[in-house]
Subunit: 218 residues, 2 copies
């Protein structure tokens, strides 16, 4: 992918902005599991995902995690450039969830381009609105939905992302996605197994009854 | 307040945008308790708070509420214009918490102005980033903080907003702010009272030991 593929309004940018963004973008790669952005004090810049998968998550003082959203091919990670965005005080970590390639636009270059271009500022507004909406959706889930329903929805989402019903996932990873304790996940998965919805292996969860999981998730 | 007082970048706007925004802004008022914006399907527009206090909150399917943030004099409510913001799919209600006066800029007028002005788009980006940050902060509270600590912090915040330690608040109102059940609030307040931190009356909570509450909230 080229940098212009990430910006549908590329042709509306000025000559100067196009040049600055293109020449500043650096191609990087990260293996699955690597930390790419370490929170608010880290001034990583804008991440444009070319391949693989990134995961943005929150970390509690006690080391508990919860996945905020995931980024796929063609997505732009904005929170990793929070140092360049006035008013944004969000402590989010970004990790490669699969082997990933991405472009990095330094925060300062982004800040200059967005300050002078209305089309770019409006597009970044749209991306922020999307992420904001995802977080509000998650907030709803956390506030009003029980953990068994969230776990069922997560397993189905994971199967869609991986294109397989045989998920390589430890209970600990699942707990980190959902922001709960490993013991809670283990207890719920055993219950799902007793109901014939999943089969548990060592470091794996196989979905055996999609329909029942989907009914529970709703 | 005049409309330009809400936009620190007013002088950087074009002649056309200044004129359109000014002539479209309508002055409204709402008594304490009135619903101003009824969720995502409601296309209210941008709200500029001149006096009073607004409260943005989420509503569950079962009618439970949680306060997302509050808006004071000089604040701009963006989510009430979500119909004009691409990518924003957020179901938030806005209510007057005190007798309030505000300007309303119709969504379509806002959309046109922001599309053509980089300074305005960047300022709205900043406002959205602020609200996004507040929601992430709330998410952290909900995820990792126990309800007794959240209640203690809420009582102190409320005292600061009202400028008084004698709070006119029912247990039901407090529960709606915190997104929990009334019974939970009642149980915790009775515990606070037994520890000498508050005195409970009919529809009122008086703070009697600020320091103890602050220690608990931390």
């Amino acid at each position: 992918m080229e940098i212009k593929d990430f910006f549908p309004m590329w042709d509306e940018l000025g000559e100067r902005e196009r040049k600055e963004l293109s020449s500043a973008a650096a191609r990087r790669s990260a293996p699955a599991g690597a930390l790419i952005h370490g929170g608010g004090s880290d001034c990583t810049g804008l991440l444009l995902v070319e391949s693989g998968r990134l995961r943005a998550y929150m970390l509690s003082g006690e080391g508990r995690e919860i996945t905020i959203y995931r980024l796929f091919e063609g997505d732009i990670c904005l929170l990793s450039a929070s140092c360049a965005i006035s008013g944004l005080q969000i402590e989010v970590m970004v990790q490669a969830e699969a082997d990933s390639e991405f472009l990095v636009i330094p925060a300062e270059v982004y800040r200059r381009a967005v300050a002078s271009s209305a089309p770019l500022a409006n597009y970044m507004n749209e991306i922020m609105a999307n992420r904001f909406s995802e977080v509000m959706w998650l907030m709803e889930q956390v506030m009003w939905k029980s953990m068994d329903r969230r776990l069922a929805a997560f397993l189905l989402e994971e199967a869609a992302v991986e294109g397989s019903d045989e998920l390589k996932l430890t209970h600990e990873r699942i707990a980190a996605h959902l922001g709960t304790a490993r013991e809670v996940v283990t207890r719920l998965l055993r219950y799902f197994q007793s109901e014939g919805m999943v089969r548990l292996g060592r470091g794996s969860v196989d979905i055996s009854d999609r329909k029942a999981l989907a009914r529970l998730a709703e």
